[in-house]
Every structure is written in structure tokens, then in C-alpha cells.
Symmetry: C3
Amino acid sequence: MALADSVGDPRFFARSGPHSLATIATLIGAEPLDHPAASQAVTGIAPLQTAGPDDISFLDNKRYAPLLEQTRAGAVIVAPAMRPRVPPDCVALVTPEPYVGWARVAALFHPEPPPNPGIHPSALVAADAEIDSSVEIGPFVVVQSGARIGAHTAIAPFALIGRGVVLGQHCRIGAHVSISHAVIGDRVRLYPGVRVGQDGFGFAITKSGGIPNFLSVPQLGRVLIDDDVEVGANTTIDRGSAHDTRIGAGSRIDNLVMLAHNVQLGRCCVIVSQSGISGSTVLEDFVQIGAQAGLTGHLRIGAKARIGAQAGVMSDVDAGAAVVGSPAMPIKEFFRNVAVLRRLARKGGADKSGG
Amino acid sequence: MALADSVGDPRFFARSGPHSLATIATLIGAEPLDHPAASQAVTGIAPLQTAGPDDISFLDNKRYAPLLEQTRAGAVIVAPAMRPRVPPDCVALVTPEPYVGWARVAALFHPEPPPNPGIHPSALVAADAEIDSSVEIGPFVVVQSGARIGAHTAIAPFALIGRGVVLGQHCRIGAHVSISHAVIGDRVRLYPGVRVGQDGFGFAITKSGGIPNFLSVPQLGRVLIDDDVEVGANTTIDRGSAHDTRIGAGSRIDNLVMLAHNVQLGRCCVIVSQSGISGSTVLEDFVQIGAQAGLTGHLRIGAKARIGAQAGVMSDVDAGAAVVGSPAMPIKEFFRNVAVLRRLARKGGADKSGG
Amino acid sequence: MALADSVGDPRFFARSGPHSLATIATLIGAEPLDHPAASQAVTGIAPLQTAGPDDISFLDNKRYAPLLEQTRAGAVIVAPAMRPRVPPDCVALVTPEPYVGWARVAALFHPEPPPNPGIHPSALVAADAEIDSSVEIGPFVVVQSGARIGAHTAIAPFALIGRGVVLGQHCRIGAHVSISHAVIGDRVRLYPGVRVGQDGFGFAITKSGGIPNFLSVPQLGRVLIDDDVEVGANTTIDRGSAHDTRIGAGSRIDNLVMLAHNVQLGRCCVIVSQSGISGSTVLEDFVQIGAQAGLTGHLRIGAKARIGAQAGVMSDVDAGAAVVGSPAMPIKEFFRNVAVLRRLARKGGADKSGG
């Protein structure tokens, strides 16, 4: 199975086009075009390596700049600094935010299909659920009593929308998602297998019977997810215990992340995959957490703080700080430690072999 | 979407009450009440910050003691040491285990609804499955041939109870759970998306064909889950290969945990989220494992040992020991290493800039 | 619930046999048998501890050699070096690859049932999907428009085979799996809860509105999974953004692994549970990644490289290299660092208490 790379395989993606370069330049706010081919149109998008004269491509990561010089693309979206490296036959669309431009152009050529309104006959929707007529409810979906689903939202097969759950407008709920005890805003996307609203990990330890024994603590809070949040596949967000678990507007959460009960994320937080945040920890706005990082409970992470991949955070982090390591420390200190230990180990090894 | 915090939102939770403080004191074994308002009743529960005069609250974590002094709650469950900090208008219910008391009171005001006996018409239950008449089987559940389900157990939508699986009494099986090759005791709770009984990660490497090649090893054991176990959302428990995978009574497993084939957990082990235990490792009773810790295979972890978050355990751990770090070491040694390295790095940095 | 260990519990596994030791020796390529009991047959398989005279067992891990000397098994599969430790009443089947032999014998006694051809009446299969007549489609499966499923493939309950997805022959798709935007080869196994083909974690950050804002980047690639791949429970494989995500033939991926968009795995890579590989990182053939390891994006990992458990890999790794630690370093250097730090900490502690 040696398939060539493909962008926008028509089996999987809708297509539109061709679109003129002038239209595209306007769409992405690029500088005025000054190339002889600027009046032409392109029919598709492709990465630099495989793009042909009818395609538009882009460069964002400088690591791939050598590919730019060799591309056969008809046009390319680049930052100003890269303009000199664009081949002469290729029209440069210059913008300070080429990746943003790429996002817009990709969506132009491959628009996401709108929901297909209606309730699939195999779905089970409670009689008292309030479903806007524009909503798409897929096969084998279960919507329980009292749930409310806003306009233009689409629910994929096998999703469970639990009793009383509120979903806003223009949401996309993936296959096999389960949601309970939650109020969810507009334009929220939950990818397949996401778990929202199940019991948090809460139990009391009683010794009254002589040996330790665990007693479950009722988890009586909710999950509140604000507008424009995305949650990656198989991520779990437990509901609050005596408070609510909250995800601030615009936050982006990757796959296999664990958010424990009462966690609060501010606006536009970014949580990369396989990270975990323990109970009652609060992230202010614009916090970024790298992959596989872990935060203990009851912490406060200041706005715009950055937590590195695999960090183990055991105390509060100041706004704007960047930490990494386990236990987490300022990023400079971490790499200084690494370097010092390496130096000592080399000497130590020499001492040892010399001794 | 700026919703106020809520405990026991009636859309999601049942309610009972009011309940008299005398009843509550008896329920939780609190000291006799000696407050003028002790004969009154409360109508609900709430955290310290939001509780009003008709609510009962609690304090367990000393970190939040300042909230106690300012609470408007009508009554509060506290440990003896906190009694002096309870405001004069607030009735103190004093107990050595306030969190246990809170668990009981929360369940009093918000009792979990019992199963609703019956098999949903959309469920597919094999003719030879043995289902107690008190069992609740939800929409789109599949129960395969020879499965047995004990009294008062409830199965949520989209769960798969595989061929021959045995489930005890009073279990709660969450949405989208899959169970195969397993025998499960009473009062076991599996949260949404749990995977029990699939093939372990077992293959032999053969070089007979010249290049290495993988040959799957049939996984012929089972998963045995004893009474009173809870398993968090999207956790995976593989079945044994030539032994059984075993989870001891009362153990609590959080979300996104990985338990490999032939792992054995003793009684009342606690495994926090995103931890992983490799094949054939044995945990004795009351072992605690912090979040994101990893244990290699074929180890023995002694009773009451504590493994810290993000630890990487590569050798046996003595009973009662506390280890952390990767590779794991005694907790004191770990933090001494951290401190020494920091000191050296500061000096080293000075040397370097001075050199 | 004190159940004895069981191999091949008939509630869960098919059985065949008895089989003669001569047949078995031929099957596994063992040396010619020279034991008086070599003409006999065995009726089942069992681990060394529980096997009786009618059972065959095996020893692969030297750690368990003492069990060999005490086994009551009728026959045992061992490496040449272990032959002297086989008890006199036990027939030794000697082979350089005893674990491979065990895999073959276990499959002989407990063969995997073939698919049961047909489409369950509750399944929803699009009219234009191409399904071979030998395919098994279980209850509540959804197969969307344009999907193609090859001969002898079996699809478990609640699986979603998305629009246009291609599945090869002899595949096994577990319960609650979701697949979209993917082309999958022959003999591929996806365990329950696997997510294939959902959107990668891709967004552009625009500051055009004054404050940072996230704009989703359309994810227009696919997931290509080559022949003989296995993917563990609840693992997530995102589709490519402007390239394809690729999994090379024969690769084995454990549970709860995260493979981000555009990741490429070569042939026969092994990824142990809870590891994560960030976007666009390339693994050449035969790379092994231990549990809970993490790789940042845009790296190249050379053929046969080995990444240790919990490693944090931030730069390319040479072919054949073995690294561990976070940040990852050669394995020798890592353990030298650990030893040196321990030595310094002991001295440092002494200095401190002495100072």
C-alpha cells in the first residue's frame, strides 16, 4: 500500500473552486499582487513538495524553507521575510500571518459541509427534549429528557446527550461522545470519544470500621463549557464536586487529556495531548500546557503562563512565567540544571575511571 | 455564559429534604449539638462561599479555612481543631472525619436514583443471557450470549456486555463501556468509555523469516474485578495472557489509566489518572499511585506503598515505602537530589560566567 | 470472589485438542523429541504453576526459571539453555524462540473464531457501501456512504465506518471504534475505542483582532494504515493536515497512545502504551518507543532506535540509538547522570548537615 500523499481526497472532503488569486489575496489580507500571473486562478491547495502550477501552497515553519525554493506551486502564502526565496514562476501572497492565511484558503477550497437538518429515524430523542429544527441528529444518537440543542448543531452517531444537558448553536458533537451534567455554549466541538460530566474521582477515607475504607463523595457540580471550545478525542472532563468544572471560551484541548473535578480554565487556554490537571486547579486566561504535563490540585496558574511538555507542576505559577521539569521550575533553570549535571557526570565518569 | 456556581442543579440531580440538624448529626456521628439553632433544619448543601442560612457546608482542606470564618452557612461540618473558627451564627457539626460526613450528607440531600428496572426495547439481549428482573438495561445496549447480570445493576446506553461476561449486583456500567472476557463482582462502577477485557499487548518476535517479524500471542486469561471497585472514564484494562488480570476489592481507578495484561491489584488500591502499569506487575493491598506514574512489568509493590505522580518505577518497592522520580527513588532522596542540583547549577552558572 | 487462575476459560475461548506432542513439535520447529513420553498428546495449555500432566506450558522469561523446576506440566517449550532445568517427567520441546512456539501452540488449542458472515439487522449500512459477502457486521454498526470493506473482515458492535473509508481483508474492528478519512490495509486490528481520522490539533493564532484568537486550520489529509497493524484500546490517531498520517506495515501500537497529524511510522514500529508523538514526526522502520514517552513535532527517529519509557525526545535520534530521560539522552549517559547526582546529593547532604 504505497499511496501518494493527498490533500483533500474527494472521498473525504468537499471541494470548491477554482478561485482567483485576487479573491484569495483579499480573503487573507495579503499585500497587493505584483506578479504577471496574478490575474490567474488556482484550482486547489497542496503542500510545497507536491503542489503543481494550478495549486496554491504555503510556508509557515522556516524548517521547510528549502522546499519553498524548489516548489512548483502556482502561488504560495508566505511571510515578508520569505518573499525573496519564492521561485520566479510562483506568485507570492505576502502576509504577516501566513498560517492564518492558509487556514482561510484551505477552508475556501474545502468548505466543511453544513449540518443536514433532521433526526435520523434510528435516534432516540426524548419527547421533552428541545431540538431546534436545523439540528442534525445522526444514527443511534440518544438524547435524554430535558436536553436542549441549539440551532445548526450536528450530533454524530452513537453520541449520548444526557438528561438536562444544554448544547448551544453550531456545535459539532463527535461519534461516541457522552455528555451528562453539562451546559455547553456555541460553536463547541467535541471530537469522538470525549467524556464530559461523569463523576469526579472523589472519595473519603474512613477508618471507623478499623481498616481504611473508601466512601464515594457525591459529585454534585456540573461541567460548563463556554463558546468556541474544542476538545480532542477520548479526552475526559469530570464534573465538579461542590463547584463546577469550567472551560473558558476559545480554549483548545487536545486528545487524551484529563481535566479533573472543579478544574477551571480561563479564556483561550491551550492544553496539549495527554496532559492532566488535578482537582480544583485554576488556569487563568491564555495559559498553555505542553503534552504530557501534569498539574497537582488546588493550584493557580497565572495568565499567559506556559507549562512545558512533561512538566510536573506542584505549586502556583506566576502570570507569564514559563516552567518545565518535574518538579517544574523556570525553563532557564531547568536547562541549566541539565547542562550542569551533564558536565558533572562527564567529570564524575572521568574521576571514576581515573580512580 | 457567566453562570454562577451550582451544587445539585435540579436539572441533573435529585433532591430530598429539608433535614434536621439533629438527624444529620446522628447520620455522621457528630458530637452532640450545643448551639441555640441546633433544633433547626437545613434545606440544602453548598460550598462555604455560596452557602446561605438554610444550607449546610463543610471544611476539610485547611487551605480554605479563611472561607470558613466568612461563611453564611447555617451549619458546617468541621474537624475539632476548626471549631473555634466557625462563625457564631453557624452550627458546628464536629467530627474527626468531616469529609466522610460531607459524603453522607451530600448523599442524603441528593440521593442517587435507583435503577429503573427493565430492558429498553432498542437493546439487544441474547436469549440465553441471565438478567435479573431488577436490572436496568438502557437504549442500544448489547448483551451477548451467556452473559449474566445480577440484581439492581444498571447498564447505560451503548454498553457492550460480551459473551459469557458475569456482572454482580448493584453495578453501574457507564455509556459506551465495552466488557469482554471478564467476571465482575458487586457494586462495581465502570465510568463511560472504560475498556475491559480486550487483548493485551502481546507478541513474539521471530527472526525465522530473516527479518524480525511479530507474531501475536493469544491472550487467554480474563479480567477479574472484585467488589466495590470503581474505574474511571476511558481507562483500559487488558485481559490476562496466561494468567488473569485482577483488581482487588475496593480499589479506585481514575480516568485514562492503563492496566496491562496479568496486572494484579490488591484490596483498596488507588490509581490516579493517566498512570500505567505494565504486564504482570503485582500491587499488594492499599497501594497508592499518583497521576501519570508508570510501572514497568513483573514488579512487586508492597502493601501501603505510595508511588508519587509521574514516577517511573523500574524495580520492586517495599511495603510502606514512598517513592517518586524517574527512575523512582525514596521521596526524601528525590527532593534532596533536586535541591543539590539546584545549588550546583547556581554555583556552576556563576563559575561559568566567572570563568 | 476468590477465583483460581484460568487459561482459556471456555465461557470466553474456543478450544481444540488433544494434540500430539509430535504435531506440536513440528508446528513450532522444535528439536526432535527424545523423551519416553514423546508419543503422547496433551489436552490443554497452562502456565508453569498450574499446569498438570495433560498440559503443555512454556518458559520465556528467566525470572520464572524456578517455576520450571517445580512444574507438573506434561511438556514444556523452552530455549536450549533451559533444557537441564526441565523436570524428568516433563517432555522438553526445545526451540531457540520459545515465546514464538508458545504463540503457535496457544493458537492451536484456542483458535480465534472466524468471522460470522452477514450484516446484523440492526446495523445501518449505506446502499452504496461495498461490503464483501464474507464480512461480519455486528449489531448497531454504522457504515457510511462509499465505504469499502474487504473479505473476511469483522466489525464489532457500535463501530462507525465513516464516509469513503477503505478497510482491507481479514481486519478486526473493535467495539465503539470510529474511523473516518482513512484507508486501511489487510489484517489490521483496531481494539475497542480506537479513534482514527478525526481532526488534528491545528489552529492558527491571529492577532488581527487586537487580542490573540485561534482559527482552526482545516485538516485535509488522511490516515493510511498499512497491513498487519494493531492499535490498542482508546488510542487516537489524528488525520493529517496537509499530508497524510501513516502507519507502516506490521507496527504495533498499545493502548491510550496519541499519534498526531502527519506522523509517519515506518514498518514494524512498536509504541507502548500512553506514549505520544507530536505532529509531523517521522519514525523509520523498527523503532521502539517505551510507555509514556513523548516526542515533540517535526523530528526524525532513525531505524531501530529505541526510546525509553517516559523519555521526552526533543531532537532527532540516530538510527540504532537508545535514549531515555527528559530531555532524552543516550541511555548510558542518563544512568551515569542518575548515579552522579545520587553521589553528589549524599555528599551535599553531609556537607550541609556538617556545615
